[in-house]
Amino acid sequence: MLADAARGFLDKSAPVKAFRDLRDAGQTHDAKMWKEMAAMGWAGVLVPESAGGVDMGHAAAGVLAHEMGKTLVVSPFLSTAVIAATALRHVSDARAEAALAKIASGDATYALAVDETSKFNPDATAMTATAEGNGFRLTGKKTFVVDGALADRLLVLAKTDNGLTLFDIPADRAGITRNAQNMIDARDSARIDFDNVEATGDDVLGQVDDAMTVLKPAIEAGQAALAAEMAGVAAGAFGMTVGYLKERKQFGTLIGTFQALQHRAAHLWCEIEVTASAVLHAGRKLDEDPENATMAVSLAKARATSTARLAVQEGVQMHGGIGMTDAFDIGFYMKRARVGAEWLGDYGYHANQVAKHRGF
């Protein structure tokens, strides 16, 4: 139901053509569309009703992300509506409530600044937040900050005296230099320098030296929604590919009659079905038993990563030469899948998480 409603809107307002136009115009954000999504309640999907949200939960957020993935929608949904909203929900004060309200209304966007090297590893954070007076000074570098060049606010993970601390600061604060990167998937991502950036105690989300109470659920929510989006990317690429098999002729016949291609397509469908189960399970687990959702989330992200990779590879292969051209959409799926594979932990990271939970 939710999926159908979302599909109806996206087919009209955000087909792949919309992404292509955005890219061709050198843009990475469509502010008007985000406002429309907010008006439909998507920005507030995880925001409590008391703060103006619709509070539908992680499974529903996954459904939306999945539909957006199918047509490569560009929006701050994951960074803002999922990751930031989940973090803020784990802080119960009036400031967080106000921040959540601004997310739900579409008036504030966020980006998560965690990565410092080319691989996701929050525990190895080196950026420092040095105590000074009643506040802190943040110094260091972040990379692969998705939505980071345009977001209004940044969630920044930094090392404090006795642990890690999460800061929520405006992106235009003095000392912050944002360098938008030219990404393969044509979306917003930035390298960000923090040079002695001032932060007050009010800027801390949760407790000092205890970032993970707030950040872990936020990251897991993001990973689950990203898995859903990537499953959508796989489904979108698959749909294009099967469509092509039914219309392209070679050797005087539809290429979809060739058993070699039929079996590749059928195998891919199987992988997509299996991944769909893992994605569904992760969303439900986050809604029903969030304390113990780590394995379910990692399972979903690992499966979605490998399935999306297969889907785009098979997509290009079965399209043949035309799949290599920029004029054709399948290449967009390939690039989106590669970026999604790295964001918030790659296949190896998540497979290791699963193994750890399974006792090896």
């Binding site: 099967v242 009659t257 079996h263 299996v274 690992a302 699963v354 090896f360």
Partner: protein, 391 residues
């Protein structure tokens, strides 16, 4: 639908019963083909505990928990069945009874059988008294199953059956066989088949085991020479046996995929692999990576089986998607056994060596991607019926 309170009560009672009644010897251990309780007239229990466990479970309907009580089951709904599986897993209880009667014939009878047939055939299956085998394939009808030639001539009150079946798993140990018999030679090949139930003790039924690469003889050849099969031993309508056969195949495929816990266990692969390594030895990087991939896929495929079972209760069975479950589940199981062999090293190379049945189990899995429809047949089914790709 029951309240949470009722389900909680159900769980508590079940847990108590399992604690009290599942013998210690019937808990834990990697499931192996050799430790399965198959039941049947000639079944030799590996231990008293195995027999006792089967009998106790059967007395509560727990050998076939979802079947109606009047047919020997416990009448569990999907929510209760989930709890049952969880509680069995919790104490690592072995399945008290597994059989083709439970996995295949039972569901087909429940769907197509008359009330009398259900009352007559199902309870002995549930109690492990009668063991069934499947007479589908023939020397000339493998992947092309519908071209069966074993014929049944209409003789008024009975069919006179003549022909040969092959790959009839455990036919030498089975008491009865359900078989596809051509009862109309002039009809198109899918339309002239009937689904008959035949007593293996009848005159004219002969079976010969085929020795396999695993050293075991799980598959047989079965011959029918002028076997008289009473007319009431047909399931479904005359010449409509293909409908029954197809329905049964979807259950068989789900079973082979792991849904019946027949071939894959619930334990973490990594833990099992660790146990098989020599003392002080660590899993090498490649084995560990393969094991992780396999574990990720196993968990996701397990969730997929559950998802389809949930849908089945909501009224939409796996249908053509059972081909996906079969394909993914068996390919995974074969991969799993490859890793078990790799972890076992040279210890896994001896028949009845330090790792017991491991090599035989490994070789047995090589049939997984063939039996019940090959992987390629599964992919063709998906391509045509699910994806709608042109013939």
């Amino acid at each position: 639908m029951q309240s949470d309170q009722e389900l909680k009560h159900f769980r508590a009672e079940l847990r108590e019963w399992l604690e009290a009644n599942c013998p210690a010897e019937m808990r834990g251990g990697e499931p192996s083909e050799a430790s399965v309780c198959w039941g049947g007239k000639s079944f030799e229990f590996e231990s008293d505990a195995q027999r006792v466990w089967m009998e106790r479970a059967a007395s509560k309907g727990y050998t076939v928990p979802t079947w109606p009580v009047e047919y020997g089951g416990a009448g569990m709904n999907r929510a209760q069945e989930k709890i049952f599986i969880e509680e069995m897993d919790r104490i690592e209880a072995r399945s008290p009874l597994q059989s083709f009667g439970i996995w295949m014939l039972g569901p087909a009878l429940l769907h197509f059988g008359t009330h009398e047939q259900k009352l007559h055939y199902l309870p002995p299956i549930a109690r492990g008294e009668i063991r069934w085998c499947q007479g589908y394939s023939e020397p000339g009808a493998g992947s092309d199953l519908a071209s069966v030639q074993t014929k049944g001539e209409d003789k008024g009150d009975h069919w006179l059956v003549n022909g040969q079946k092959i790959w009839t798993s455990y036919a030498d140990k089975a008491d009865w066989i359900f078989a596809l018999i051509r009862t109309d030679r002039d009809a198109p090949k899918h339309k002239g088949i009937s689904f008959l139930l035949i007593d293996m003790e009848d005159e004219g039924v002969e079976t010969r085991p085929i020795k396999l690469i695993s050293g075991a003889s799980v598959f047989c050849e079965t011959f029918f020479t002028n076997v008289q099969v009473p007319k009431e031993q047909i399931v479904g309508d005359e010449n409509r046996g293909w409908d029954v056969a197809k329905y049964l195949l979807t259950h068989e495929r789900e079973m082979i995929s792991g849904g019946g816990q027949g071939l894959s266990g619930g334990r973490a692969l990594g833990a099992v692999l660790n146990e098989s390594l020599a003392e002080g030895q660590e899993m090498d990087t490649v084995l560990r990576a393969d094991a992780m991939r396999c574990e990720v896929d196993a968990l996701a495929i397990g969730l997929t089986l559950e998802r389809y079972k949930d849908q089945a209760e909501a009224g939409t069975g796996a249908g053509d998607a059972s081909a996906m479950l079969k394909y993914m589940g068996t390919e995974l199981n074969m991969q799993r056994h490859e890793l078990l062999m790799a972890a076992g090293g040279s210890d896994a190379l001896e028949w009845d060596g330090p790792l017991g049945n491991r090599p035989a189990d490994w070789l047995r899995t090589k049939a997984n991607s063939i039996e019940g429809g090959t992987s390629e047949v599964m992919l063709s089914i998906i391509s045509r019926r699910v994806l709608g790709l042109p013939g």
